[in-house]
Point group: C2
């Protein structure tokens, strides 16, 4: 029997990280048989000033800068990144990364893509060898040589198993407990499968009929004095009445959908900004999804599961990304103004980069290195529009070819 | 070698029927090797008056009623159902149903669902025995006993093979040559497969790897002095630069998607009218699609093809139906006003029926007769909301169960 409980740490405390810490902490309270109540949240320490109109304003302190971790732990609110949302008091902000992760058997990574390499370097060797992780960082890293899933990068770097959470999720809505769905891809490592965990029912059973894609690392099993870490337990850690979790074993499908949608969002922005009607935009989005599936089937035939693309991380995230997200918004603006995306980055984003551009370039370069770029006419069209060698008006001809 | 050519008739001349006649007639002109140039369009004869501000107004005639067929054949415009769109002069309106179809080897059915039974009765025995048909009428007829595809009903009644055209298609947009896509499901009957038709390339080949779902009728093969009727020829009859056609062999998937989307559109209208946010609406739509696929897999396991649901007839039609179509619009209105759909039918539709209601009832009754209604929680929720036994607010709980 399990004598110990899982200790949970959220690595990251932005808008989305704090939201996830909130819902996870609600669940550790509801499942004291599985989890320690306290949830650690690593916070990149910074100074904040509480404005005088805030309920947390203390005249004795005034607007003197205070440490963000102290404010969170005192007022149970991340005043900087998730203001006006009450956090459960069992969320404990911790400014020390190593201290926050060292005793935790479940790590949730939730911070911007570009920081993950450095974070992994800092905590490597300081975590429990049998820890399990979930990455809320979407996507993949594509070079000419390979496509690397971010969750697998984390897992391989730390020598643990790491799954992925992705979906059509808007942090502020979830923080306000408006209902939505998400997808968690978690392919329980064979060393963690316990006969007793078959108890999670027919759905869990089906999901465990997985591709068997496993980490490159020799994994240390979760000790038997801990509860298992399988679909059932992970669902209990994340599912809330306002946050419906679907568990799948397909980390590849979830990660690819999370990355390639950025290309499709650019395509939708271009065509919509060019005045196309809704059915045409829907057709462009559909083609993008079909090319995403083709990519997955071509390069990950051993592990991809077609139904994954019907999950929130597939269908829903694609629709929301092509209707309201950043890549879509700025590519629409570029088409409306008749300027390039680079011009938009310069004038509207202060030189900040749009992720869709690099994703498009990397994916096309990867495809070209294999001579199959023509099987992805929509991705190719997006690249051409970015580079100015192709016009939005030509999309139908290319897609019908 | 083929000595004869296919003669084409469009049965129906509403907004969508006239649009299809236009694009088909453009194609018979472009492919004189396959098709006779003239396209017959059966028109339910009625009298129309040409308003004085119309370019077709003739002071000598004034606003005296004229026959719609005469107006179409004289002015090449369906002034009543597709005004301001110039039809190719090779579209010939014909008020006689039997005369319009009797010599045609390709029949395109495009008229409201409720008329098809009577139309088939009238033409049965008066068509070429080897004619092939495409139904632009979407969907299925569901009774407690069975699910009947409309295209199969047409084919079985007439003793010919009938495929189905369906997609996110808005007639006026296509008539104005705004780009969109469609899906044609056509499972070339074995008796029509000719060795030479392998020439339509790898894509056509793949599509012909079909489920082999065949008509109940003993079919008369298309004679060899006619060109074949296979995916390549059908695509040539429908594809235009502004109308991109995807051919699939899965008549079941296309028909089911076309029918069950009406249930999902009601669900989306209810939740949106209830003030739910975009991610929640997307989640509801996604669940509807997943239940549609489940239905298809459960009751047509031998013939369904999963990729069909990524076609325009699946993905795109679902999105457009849940964003702008009739079922969606009125269920949204019902939720906004806090009244029942029946009340909306009474006050807004003059007692006209909303198709989604009967589809929901029939499908739920079919599922209940098999004891599997609980595997379709979204469909069930829609039925409950229609009947007032269930509240929109309870949807998340039901879907998470």
């Amino acid at each position: 029997m399990a004598g110990r409980k899982h200790r949970v740490t959220v690595v990251g405390s932005g808008n989305w990280g704090t939201t996830v810490a909130k819902l996870v902490a609600e669940n550790t309270r509801e499942h004291p048989d599985l989890f320690e109540e306290e949830v650690q949240m690593w916070v990149y320490e910074e100074n904040v000033a509480i404005p005088s109109d805030s309920p947390h304003y203390d005249p004795a302190v005034g607007d003197a800068p205070q440490k963000l971790t102290s404010v969170i732990n005192k007022h149970h609110e991340n005043v900087k990144y998730l203001p006006k949302i009450k956090l459960p008091s069992n969320v404990v902000a911790n400014p020390s990364l190593v201290d926050a992760v060292k005793d935790s058997s479940i790590l949730i990574f939730n911070l911007p893509h570009e920081f993950i390499g450095n974070i992994c370097k800092q905590i490597k060797g300081h975590i429990l060898p049998f820890a399990r992780a979930i990455s809320c960082i979407k996507g993949v890293t594509v070079t000419d040589d390979k496509v690397e899933l971010i969750c697998e990068y984390i897992g391989d770097t730390l020598g643990i198993y790491c799954g992925a959470l992705s979906g059509a999720n808007i942090a502020n809505e979830i923080a306000n407990e408006l209902w939505c769905e998400t997808t968690i891809a978690y392919n329980t490592p064979p060393c963690d499968r316990r006969s007793s965990s078959g108890a999670d029912g027919p759905d869990g059973e089906k999901h465990r009929d997985s591709s068997g894609r496993v980490s490159k690392t020799e994994l240390t099993p979760v000790p038997h004095d801990y509860p298992p870490v399988d679909h059932e337990e992970i669902r209990k850690l994340f599912q809330r009445p306002y946050f419906s979790v679907s568990m799948v074993p397909d980390v590849v499908g979830v990660s690819l959908a999370g990355a390639l949608k950025n290309i499709v969002a650019l395509a939708c922005g271009f065509t919509e900004g060019n005045g196309w009607n809704a059915t045409a935009k829907t057709a462009v989005m559909r083609r993008g999804m079909v090319e995403t599936i083709r990519f997955a089937q071509e390069f990950f035939p051993e592990s991809i599961q077609l139904m994954t693309f019907w999950e929130s991380a597939g269908w829903s995230d694609m629709i929301v990304s092509c209707t309201s997200a950043r890549n879509w918004r700025y590519s629409k603006m570029a088409a409306e103004r008749g300027v390039s995306l680079y011009e938009i980055e310069r004038t509207e984003l202060n030189g900040q980069k749009l992720q869709g551009i690099s994703t498009t370039k990397e994916v096309m370069s990867f495809l070209r290195a294999r001579g199959v770029e023509n099987q992805y006419p929509l991705f190719k069209a997006v690249e051409g529009i970015i580079d100015g060698t192709f016009k939005v008006e030509d999309v139908p001809k290319l897609l019908s070819g």
